[in-house]
């Protein structure tokens, strides 16, 4: 009787049972004949052979292989659509000794993630990218991909891809090989045994490069999608072998593994004690001097500040939040950027509270600082009864009066202009709010200003502006005891 020993079996880098799956924990979720399973096995074998299972981190994409973390008994991070190469960059830089593998399909890498992969490759990040190209969107049901072949029918190219309508198939390996930094780029296929064994060697090499500390390596794998291609697995494999290489030739497009020097390790981060100096807060991080106050005074200030871009909306909020930090409060500052940066309307949400803040979004403010009329129109009704409304205008416009809120209406911009710069209107307004509500100490505001305003000239203008605002509030009879 002959005795036998195991030559090939399930890799140790796979979980024994796929307990992260809800059901069918003994098999993958991939369709019969899918290329993902084959490439998973090639990767797992390479991890086994290189002995790196405990330091491998697999970055998975969006697409059918989104669930690769069901199977690999390694570190796993599932990233936002297309961002795997960016996530891999961060992981590799933060943990230079880890082996970081970015596993991405063609919808993920070549469409939504085309910017991320291009720049990761161009920076020569020391990561390994396994790029599965099946020339179609699989998970979502067969839409055209950047890599779809000319003439190929998909749900969104029912008459076949046309170079005039959808452009030419994107050749990722060739494209990235035009960059200076990548160390190794090869395109392989899963079209037959021979191709699969070559794919295995390429995958292993791309991972080994990283173990050796070399830079960016990418393997593009032409892979079958029998279900979406509507072919049986053997015919799909034939298509990979006979059709796809006409558009996507197999081969090595970049190989500098022999001459490439190991990528320098990122510099060690500075010691924690140095960080205040680096951030120019050498006088110390915000103190919590109001520990004792916190238990007695309950603060829950929800401020919405709105105006035109350039009026200092965000800055006003920042000073308020910084002063709150100094006072030992919980704070949040949520700016609304976007096209508003270019002179549209702009707003920011600030919360100061003695308890932890649940959401930085202020939808029901108890203080509204409206720096222009549209902002007042927009947000006045949202102010809580008993709250404060400060409006940057000599008088409230018609139809904007509310009897159940405190209102200070004043041309704050004009007052600032008299002090020398109309841009300080935001600080005049802040001064009025502080005086009227008495919510933060003058010390905290001064500390905040000194942290945020670097120019001595502006610091002086802002101090005067705050004082002017306080006067306005007092003159209007608003003065917190």
């Amino acid at each position: 009787m002959a005795s036998y020993t195991v030559a090939y079996e399930k890799s140790k880098s796979f979980f024994e049972a796929y307990e992260r799956k809800a059901e069918l924990q003994h098999q993958t979720h991939y369709c019969p004949g899918c290329g993902h399973g084959i490439v998973h096995k090639l990767i797992a074998n390479a991890i086994d052979e290189l002995g790196i299972q405990d330091r491998t981190i697999l970055i998975t994409p969006v697409g059918c292989s989104v669930f690769a973390y069901y199977y690999f008994d390694t570190g796993n991070i599932q990233s936002a659509h297309g961002r795997a190469a960016a996530v891999a960059t961060a992981v590799k830089r933060a943990r230079p000794d880890s082996i970081v593998l970015s596993y991405q399909g063609d919808g993920d890498l070549a469409a939504i993630g085309s910017a991320e992969i291009l720049h990761a490759a161009n920076r020569g990040e020391g990561i390994t990218v396994i790029f599965i190209n099946n020339a179609i969107y699989g998970m979502t049901g067969g839409q055209v991909a950047p890599t779809t072949l000319l003439g190929q029918k998909t749900t969104t190219t029912p008459f076949g891809r046309s170079e005039w309508n959808e452009g030419y198939p994107l050749k990722v390996a060739e494209l990235l090989a035009s960059l200076e930094a990548p160390v190794y780029i090869e395109r392989v296929g899963l079209g037959n045994n021979k191709q699969i064994m070559q794919a295995g060697r390429a995958v292993r090499r791309a991972i080994e490069n990283q173990v050796r500390g070399l830079g960016f390596s990418l393997v593009e794998v032409l892979s079958p999608c029998p279900t979406i291609w509507k072919l049986d697995p053997v015919d799909a494999q034939r298509r990979v072998r006979e059709e796809m290489p006409k558009t996507f030739p197999l081969g090595v497009f970049r190989d500098r593994t022999k001459e490439a020097a190991a990528r320098p390790r990122p510099p060690a981060p500075p010691p924690i004690a140095e960080i205040p100096r680096i951030l120019s807060v050498a006088n110390g991080l915000p103190r919590t001097k109001a520990e004792s106050q916190r238990s007695t005074i309950q603060v829950d200030l929800r401020v919405k500040i709105a105006g035109f871009g350039g009026q200092g909306v965000l800055m006003l909020g920042e000073v308020l939040a910084e002063a709150g930090l100094d006072a030992g409060l919980e704070v949040s500052w949520l700016p609304s950027y976007g096209p508003e940066m270019r002179s549209g309307t702009s707003n920011c949400h600030v919360r100061l509270a003695s308890r932890p803040i649940d959401s930085p979004l202020v939808s029901r403010p108890n203080a509204l600082l409206a720096l222009n009329e549209p902002s007042l129109d927009k947000f006045l009704t949202s102010v809580e009864a008993g709250g404060w409304v400060l409006y940057n205008g000599a008088a409230l416009p018609d139809g904007c009066a509310r009897a159940d809120v405190h209102t200070i209406s004043e041309n704050f911009t004009q007052l600032a202009d008299e002090l020398g710069d109309s841009r300080a209107g935001n600080m005049v307004m802040l001064g009025a709010l502080l005086e009227a509500t008495g919510m933060l100490s003058g010390d905290s505001i001064r500390t905040a200003l000194e942290r945020l305003v670097k120019s001595q000239r502006w610091l002086e203008i802002d101090r005067q502006a705050l004082g002017r605002g306080r006067e306005v509030a007092r003159r209007g009879g608003f003065h917190a005891s």
Binding site: S3, Y4, Y8, P32, H36, P233
Partner: protein, 87 residues
């Protein structure tokens, strides 16, 4: 394919018929053609692969073309015995 049935096979495959999805890639790839899809269905509705005849060489090609991590285990006759068997 000619095969001397008086000698034990150089290789052997253990097939997990519950993990197999019946894609048939291994059947297509097997050099000595010892695999085929079974006539019956497994619990999940696939015709699982079976090894129906002698002649497995233990080459491992079926293992690499199979998309499932653990559906196929390939074994080889131990070197010593292989020597005596094929001397």
């Amino acid at each position: 394919m000619s095969h001397d049935r008086s000698k034990p096979d150089r290789g052997r495959v253990e097939l997990n018929s519950e993990e197999c999805k019946g894609c048939g890639l291994c059947v297509e790839a097997c050099p000595p053609k010892v695999l085929r899809l079974a006539g019956h269905l497994n619990r999940y509705g696939y015709h699982p692969v079976t090894c129906f005849t002698h002649g497995c060489t233990g080459c491992g090609i079926c293992f690499f073309v199979c998309p499932e991590p653990g559906a196929i285990i390939v074994l080889r006759a131990t070197a010593l015995e292989a020597e005596t068997l094929y001397a």
